[in-house]
């Protein structure tokens, strides 16, 4: 009977991690919408809603610790709990990055890079997270390798986007701009580069989730670095 309850707790942990992922991805997609539309109330909603993500994270962390302390899992169960423990940290960080994006998006719209370009990058990173959590849910090792490979493309795309921003900045003739315009321009550059960097980090967290999932499924640490 006690072992049945233990199995139910493991099943519940998996479902709860997937549910936390749904919440984080919802916030992240809202943040991308903010970036595209400048919707300030949606931005506030994403930023204010981060505490809910944090609470979920702490609850799940507590669940993992309780399972380790009371059930002392071993073998596949141990890898599952240890991986879940790590994955919820990645999800929480993605939630933080979503609040960053919502904050950048609510500021002045960039003139350096078309918002839809940023959003397209963001969507690629978001789909990697969604797929990574799908792989976690069904313990699909092949999928983890495929998602990790997509991160190389995302990194390259982010590098190119950053270079475009810097080139445009270099193309500016400061003598034609007022002091206020220069300040605005620098703030825009900074914000746009930070946005691209955060999107690239979302992709990294997706790879982390894949790495832990691969370890969980096959005891393979090939993606952990």
């Amino acid at each position: 009977m006690a072992r049945h309850e233990y199995q139910r707790e493991l099943d519940r942990l998996r479902a709860d991690v997937c549910s936390m992922s749904d919440l984080v991805l919802e916030r992240y997609e809202d943040a991308l919408e903010v970036y595209e539309t400048g919707n300030r109330s949606l931005s506030e909603s994403v930023i204010d809603g981060d505490h809910e993500v944090n609470e979920r994270y702490l609850d799940l962390e507590g669940d993992c610790i309780e399972l380790l302390a009371l059930q002392q899992p071993v073998a596949g169960d141990l890898r599952f709990v240890a991986s879940s423990f790590k994955i919820v940290t990645d999800l929480e960080r993605i939630g933080d990055l979503a609040t960053n994006l919502a904050g950048y998006g609510a500021a002045e719209t960039t003139t350096l890079l078309a918002p839809e370009g940023v959003v397209e990058l963001g969507e690629r990173a978001g789909s990697m997270v969604a797929d990574a959590v799908d792989a976690y849910e069904v313990e699909d090792a092949d999928m983890t390798w495929e998602i990790a490979a997509r991160d190389d493309d995302l990194d390259q795309a982010c590098r190119e986007a950053s270079e475009r921003v810097v080139r445009q900045l270099l193309a500016d003739d400061p003598s034609t701009l007022s002091g206020t315009e220069i300040e605005a321009r620098l703030a825009d550059v900074s914000r746009t580069l930070l946005t691209i960097r955060d999107i690239e980090r979302v992709g990294d967290h997706a790879v982390n989730i894949c790495a832990r999932t691969l370890y969980m499924a096959e005891n393979d640490d090939g993606l952990i670095y």
Binding site: Y6, V74, A75, G76, L78, R79
Partner: protein, 282 residues
């Protein structure tokens, strides 16, 4: 069936009953194993307790034997020092080598064997004698009766069992007056007093509270510097904590998996082992 080592049996071993210190380097060069079973099967009448077990147990390591009740763990342990000889219905087939010498060869003296392969049992079983006499018992049987020699050996054994500081002032007290954990350490002192090479432990902490059990676990960690420890335990966390190698037996006396402890508990190769150690029985 015989190994290379048994092709050239150690004459010293046969003559003097396993006093082979001088030749151990040779054995360790060939293999790190101090104990090896090859196709070992044990039956109690019609009941098969061990089924074709082949395993190598490394020297100066802790090897844990785990598995459900009735899987042959204790039978395997008793096979090592021929304690099964005392069971009339017991039939042993296959080989069990200690330093390359099959302990079931006709020329092996089981008493001499048990001097080299000591055993500690589930429940502490000190003799109804003084602490001193408990430890000196085996030494006196060996014919060592010089008082100074005995005093030194008793102190050494009690220190080795991490009991000296607690009992040095009461060596004449009865061993039965000690706490359960102290009694078990006294039994370990008694087992190591005769200077064995291997210590077999059959659930040595199952009758002890967690604090006393923890002291025994710490002691095992120290003992392994001098001795090879083979421990049967039902406590899988204990096996995971203290052993270097873990052997998993399942019903029918089958050795299902034997590997580094970390591998067995993190990524067992056999799904039946995974089911057993995670508590899912098929």
């Amino acid at each position: 069936m015989s190994s290379n080592m048994t092709d050239t049996p150690d004459e010293t071993l046969i003559e003097t009953g396993f006093e082979v210190e001088a030749d151990r380097t040779h054995e360790q060069t060939d293999t790190e194993a101090i104990l090896q079973s090859e196709n070992l099967s044990v039956n109690y009448g019609d009941e098969q307790a061990l089924d074709d077990v082949t395993i190598e147990i490394p020297e100066n390591r802790v090897t844990a034997i785990i598995g459900p009740s009735g899987c042959g763990k204790s039978t395997f342990l008793r096979s090592i020092n021929r304690m099964n000889d005392r069971i009339r219905s017991c039939a042993v087939d296959g080989e069990l080598y200690f330093h390359g010498k099959n302990v079931y060869d006709d020329d092996v003296d089981p008493v001499a064997l048990r001097r080299k392969i000591g055993q500690v049992f589930q429940a502490p079983n000190p003799f109804p004698k003084s602490i001193y006499d408990n430890v000196a018992y085996g030494l006196r049987i060996q014919g060592r009766d010089d008082e100074v020699d005995l005093d030194e050996a008793v102190e050494r054994a009690l220190r080795g069992a991490a009991l000296w500081d607690e009992v040095s002032h009461q060596l004449d007290s009865s061993g039965l007056d000690l706490s359960g954990g102290q009694q078990q350490r006294l039994c370990i002192a008694r087992a190591i007093a005769t200077d064995p090479e291997v210590l077999l432990m059959d659930e040595p902490t199952s009758a002890l509270d967690p604090v006393a059990a923890s002291k025994i676990e710490d002691l095992i960690d120290e003992l392994v510097e001098k001795y090879t420890v083979v421990i049967v335990t039902h406590n899988m966390q204990q096996a995971a904590r203290i052993s270097d190698k873990t052997a998993v037996f399942l019903t029918g006396g089958e050795l299902v998996e034997y590997d580094d402890t970390a591998t067995v508990f993190e990524n067992p190769a056999d799904s039946r082992v995974e089911d057993y150690i995670t508590g899912k029985f098929g």
